[in-house]
Subunit: 308 residues, 4 copies
């Protein structure tokens, strides 16, 4: 399925695997790419915040794009957020040339007013070219930029090349409802909404109007199953599945150590070889690892994928 305003399902936020010496682990990248596809993901997003993108050199970023794009059969989105529009343009156009389906742009933390935000994305689209399809990332918890539904509507109206909203406002359920009702009222064109925040509210987001998830939770296979259950109208079953995973989802949703939890789980699942992060980074204490492992063992009673 192409990347479009009708995109549904789960776009995995890919971690960037490293070897113990901190170099990019391309073998694990291959395994991760296959794993996301086998998990039923309808897309893969690379070089996002949780992909440690700011810690990569430009040539490393391009090598990763090339590797994933050439292997994946699903659309690949490339995070191109950068302090300067020149660097953003360069990575965006290189990525598209290599076969990426689109790019993702997050607002820089300094933006405050609606006009500043709208103006920033106008500049970004001007830089990358309006022929490059893109995802608007709305992530106030980390970026401190708050976009009202009205601002998102203005950006979507200004730029037809924006096909998708990565929604990770918190609290954000009402925002999805508001955007969808603007669309139903014919006041806003269609676009896809995939939700982030590690999946913390994925038990309600689909009913609010989300098309699925864009997150890197260590069980993408569970995320696709969950979205499938909602699509099939099996609300209670969906909640049962979600609730079984919530203790782990919640544990992973700790700013600063969340990525360590995620990499630990992916390593335990045999997908990546090491849980190495590039420095500076926060690692898990042995107690924390034991807590995650205990949560996995509890989860395994309900979901055999967690039996590691």
């Amino acid at each position: 399925m192409a990347f479009s305003v009708s995109s549904k399902g789960v776009y995995a936020i890919a971690t960037t695997p490293f070897l113990k010496d901190g170099s990019v682990d391309f073998t694990s990248i291959d395994r991760l790419t296959d794993f996301y596809e086998e998990s039923g993901c309808t897309g893969i997003t690379i070089l996002g915040i949780m992909g440690e993108a700011p810690k990569l050199e430009p040539e490393e970023s391009r090598a990763i794009v090339k590797r994933v794009v050439s292997r994946a059969k699903v659309p690949v989105i490339v995070g191109v957020s950068a302090p300067g529009f020149a660097g953003m343009r360069s990575l965006a156009r290189d990525s598209m040339e290599m076969g990426a389906a689109g790019v993702m742009i997050a607002p820089p933390p300094a933006l405050r007013t609606d006009d500043q935000i709208v103006g920033y994305f106008a500049g970004a689209v001007d830089a990358i070219g309006d022929d490059v399809p893109w995802v608007l990332q709305d992530y106030p918890l980390t970026l401190t930029v708050v976009m009202s539904p009205g601002v998102i509507a203005r950006i979507m109206t200004n730029h037809s090349s924006c096909l998708m909203l990565k929604h990770e406002d918190w609290p954000g359920l009402e925002k999805i409802s508001t955007l969808r009702s603007l669309q139903i009222a014919g006041e806003l064109r269609p676009f896809s909404i995939l939700c982030g925040n590690g999946g913390m509210f994925l038990d309600f987001e689909p009913e609010r109007g989300a098309d699925g998830a864009m997150t890197g939770y260590g069980f993408p296979d569970m995320l696709t199953e969950l979205i499938g259950l909602f699509a099939a109208g099996k609300r209670d079953e969906a909640h049962d599945l979600f609730d079984a995973h919530l203790p782990l989802i919640r544990y992973e949703q700790q700013l600063s150590v969340g990525l360590a939890v995620r990499k630990h789980v992916l390593k335990r699942r045999g997908v990546i070889t090491t849980d190495t992060q590039r420095k500076p980074a926060q690692s898990l204490s042995s107690t924390a690892k034991a807590e995650v492992d205990y949560l996995l063992s509890r989860l395994a009673r309900y979901d055999k994928r967690a039996a590691l």
Copy 2:
């Protein structure tokens, strides 16, 4: 049990009930006080952030202190955080005179360095008097003030009148471990640690060394049961209970609408008459209320207290 460095169990963060016209609802305050005690709470904390304290006039604050203190049989802690030390002193001393067990002080958002934080609390203790027992509130998510274990240790060492840490850092599990190991090593005097954050990590905090919880989650009876299970060494049962409540705990832990969820649940449980908040405040949409009610109905399958 007195308020002391050995305090354990659950101190309820009391909401402040209002009538529909916004005036203080003293009848509901009485019911709430009784409810907390019947739920097994070992203490009650009033006039905290989630008690809408900044929206109360001084005479209202005092009337609430008087009402709760004169009714409660457990220790009552009074939030006295204020922009000026004069107002803080006045409320602290009035509260103690009315029979409060102690006060709670949060740092103002402008503090940044360790020295600024330590200096602020030195000024606060100087203002209220070192004969007033108090709780140190560590709540970076809302207050933006981050206290390292070292800063907490300095404050505790400087002020023997500080008996308890209200811990609600996020992520914060390692902080509890660090503080407890300082105490075990004899480098830090004893104090009680009760955890907030709406209970989001209460499935691991007791094992890390917390003495219990200080939060206002709508099921304080579940919180006391949970702490009891941990005290009895029933780890798996504790997690079973916690996990059943986690979907609702998580839903309540949305900044800005969390209090609306909490008041809605307390109203549905028949404890408070209205879910009115003083303005400005954010209310629940009908969809959000239905989501909470759905979570309650799911919870009721496991915990009959949620069958409302």
Copy 3:
């Protein structure tokens, strides 16, 4: 001259004088009121941020309003910013009853989006009543709330009771130009613009369209002279006067110690009896005092008002 959309000149941001024991110094308040009027101020604003308003008890606030209003012959504006709308309404209506000309409202720090800001002021006006004339305070440096010209225009359009903008954005010269051109184009109704920021850009703000200043710099007599020079078209003379004062203006414009500088100057000028601030507060070191005094002595070569 009444407080209106045509207000011009200088509204002094009054400090709140305290005696050494921290109690309100009403004798100095009287002297300060007279001093502002003798300095040519066209209005006085009390209970602002630099008036240490959050550290006052409600009854103290009212006593100060009463004292100033009953003595002053110029319009008095009362800062009524408060965490709750109930407290804001109560102080606003009490102040108007005592004879205040209007009130001033600043946005709370949590506001981010245009809609949140516009919504907040709608709630505030609903609370105080649309018969109470008010000043919109735009002070991002301290409040962290950034209002675009578009947001200010929406607030002004929504609320005809808002008569004045206290402008202290930084950088903010373009904002004044933008608002004034909206008015010239007939897209925005008239309102007064007085500038704050301690006067740091008062050498250009009048030409951009500002009607004057609203700040508490220790030489209000210089501020009124400066505005007069601009009104008389004496640009170079205005800059000469401004430049002579800029070293002191700049020194005062240090967040956190600025108020100590201001009170020190007012005390040296014989207007207030002590430079006491309510705690917590930052005071001036002896070196800093000597620096201020040196700046005063240098200023005195140009402006005899500084010969103290």
Copy 4:
């Protein structure tokens, strides 16, 4: 004079000149390098925040380092702040190999506690190697990281390779005094202190103990003259010179448009060919340019360097 703990005078914060198409303007870089040296600067700092470093690609950064280092006769410091330590190390070591005298490191905005800050710099030094001399940048106004004197002392004690503090706290005069008195008391080893903040407090910083300035104000020749006057004990003359420049210094010290002012002045002085900034950037309106030009013309009455 080598870069050492005894460095004095003025280290110019170099802007990065661009051609109109946004490419690096090496001819202007040469002219700028010469200009700084002819102005009496004792060092040059490149690739800082005001050098638009985050908007450069790695190969551009290296090309700029090479160009400046090979031309300059004074020590060159290279800003190497980066989201990841790998990139920081790589630029630091490449720069040293090309002949840089040292590097400068600023703390990332997320740091809050003393321990986080101290730990971050330990990681940074571990990454670049303790054989690389470096400058600690203390710039809370932009970076939101506040370092107390105690934290700076800990970093200086931990890392003998740190030779200089770039001080631009605001207010920050007391911080200089505190650090210097720690050194006088023998509790802290020597290091150089050069002050930033665009020179806004350079009329008092030398007397507080600063060794000079590190800023990019468009008149570095005035900065070196000023430091010379202070060194010669000519206090009043120093203030006369400073005061003449203060209106322009102040105008330049507007966050977000300050760099546009600086480049405009450098262009008018014939040092750089265009005032182009890389996008996103804020430019000067024609009114603002006229204001700067008016300030220059006023300055020219006192300082003929401003007669352009």
